[in-house]
Symmetry: none
């Protein structure tokens, strides 16, 4: 049997499913010595004693601060390291869509009797509405075409003005103009000094009484007190939060008792989705490596991600 592909090792311990992903990508699973690539699948340790034959190492997370802090990338300056950035955006985008649809179509209210006259007014239509995705990176690139398929007009806001399929792109410096033009908002931006309390009382006042605000990014993007006040006076349609500030949300927090505040406890990317997403990314990156293409999500040592 010809073994034309590069030998790729899995570490720290063997794993048949990752071997299969390597084979699927055109690589040859094999021991670390003499391997050209290393797929590191352990969340609690950092690879050491990497042989000189290794040219590429795949790390298992999108956020790889722990690996950066360990000095790994500096210790092996000639190796290309890749993170799993973007590999998990599919499930997070799907969660954002679920929260948005559940909100707009009234599923935040659990029916307990057959009362269509009471229920029908809660049932909105997402199709035909305008949705802003604020911070349109990997999650936004997944979400925009999904919304488009529902007939939604998508405005994607990002810093660089990078194209997003299915969306009209607005650069972040013009975000102020966006709030009053949209029906709903999905937050998918990283937590930085600039995005702290991005959705504050002033922004909430510009949204519509039927507007839903969805946050699958970081809790700090919303001024929680302003949000609670807006919800209590019916200024917006509701909120779907997978992340909160503070997080975890205390048991006595007022958000828990607001009917049109749907809260999921930071589970948009639950543990059971990690492994399949990483297997898929490994197969893709082995294929790229085997074909002398740059693998996805190469870590920039100067940026640390």
């Amino acid at each position: 049997m010809p073994q034309d592909g590069p030998v790729i090792a899995v570490g720290p311990n063997p794993d048949p499913e990752f071997d299969a992903a390597i084979t699927g990508g055109g690589g040859v699973p094999g021991p670390l010595r003499n391997a050209e690539g290393l797929v590191w699948i352990d969340s609690t340790s950092v690879p050491t004693d990497i042989p000189a034959s290794i040219r590429w190492v795949q790390l298992p997370f999108a956020g790889i601060e722990n690996f950066v802090d360990s000095g790994l990338l500096q210790k092996y300056p000639d190796i290309t390291f890749t993170s799993a950035a973007g590999a998990y955006s599919t499930t997070v985008a799907e969660h954002a869509l679920t929260l948005l649809l559940a909100g707009v179509r009234g599923l935040w209210h659990r029916e307990t009797t057959w009362d269509p006259k009471n229920a029908a007014p809660r049932v909105g239509l997402l199709g035909g509405s305008t949705v802003a995705i604020v911070g349109a990176g990997g999650i936004g690139r997944d979400l925009a075409p999904q919304l488009r398929a529902l007939g939604v007009n998508v405005i994607a806001v990002n810093r660089s003005g990078t194209d997003v399929t299915g969306a009209v792109v607005v650069t972040a410096d013009r975000l102020d103009e966006v709030w009053s033009q949209v029906d709903h908002v999905v937050l998918a931006a990283p937590a930085t000094a600039e995005t702290k309390s991005l959705v504050n009382a002033d922004v909430l006042a510009q949204l519509k009484p039927h507007s839903w605000v969805i946050n699958v990014a970081r809790g700090a993007l919303i001024d929680t007190d302003a949000l609670v006040a807006a919800l209590k006076k019916g200024a917006i349609g509701g909120v779907g939060l997978d992340v909160t500030d503070p997080e975890p949300l205390p048991a006595d927090h007022p958000l828990w008792s607001i009917p049109n505040a749907i809260i999921t406890p930071h589970v948009a990317n639950p543990p059971q989705h990690l492994r399949p997403a990483l297997l898929e990314r490994v197969e893709v990156n082995v294929r790229r490596f085997a074909n002398d293409m740059e693998p996805l999500a190469v870590i920039d040592r100067s940026k640390g991600y």
Copy 2:
């Protein structure tokens, strides 16, 4: 003012917005006597004493069993009757997707405390799964591309084998082969003798423990007792029902107390969505009628829909 278009009546009572839709389609709103077409916009009655001048009657629903059962179509064998099939499919498809996502991603369980370890196992991933749309007419044609945008493999089942964009089509005579191959099922078939109790104990036994069954069509498509039994023993993941059998679902029905049975009281196409959609369909069909084209959704008397 020239009145070249056909005279179309609105019944049982006048309605200026429907008159405007008729005018928009190139017709002339007018009284029933001597009219060529009749747009029937009442949900609670059946037209009687239709004059011989009428060649076309537009009915206000997609599911027109009540009109069929009344004998209306047999009483006037020379009249072309059209249903509103397809006119409401956008909002119904969106509702089906909402129920499916809310089920698969665990939103049927309302979180009341921040407990990710407890919540995460309920969060499934629709992307990558296989979904059967059973009865892929207008709703299925809308839903299939929406599911495809989420990375779902869509199997569309219909009688004719008509192509459905985004789906692999299987003809209804091979439906038996489908159940065991899919993760989830969306029912969108008309209520006929053949579709009664289509989802019965035998079918439920072929589905997977994580399978969600969504019904936005007619309650009679599911054997409710078999469904309750399957849910109680955890044989399937859950059910999202916008229609039930019996309907209305009695207050003491066991489905109300099953947590993973999401019920909405036949509001996938709520009144506030109905009227704009019917107005649009009337305009389109008046235009087709005025131009000697077959109007949309002509009822086949032999099929009953």
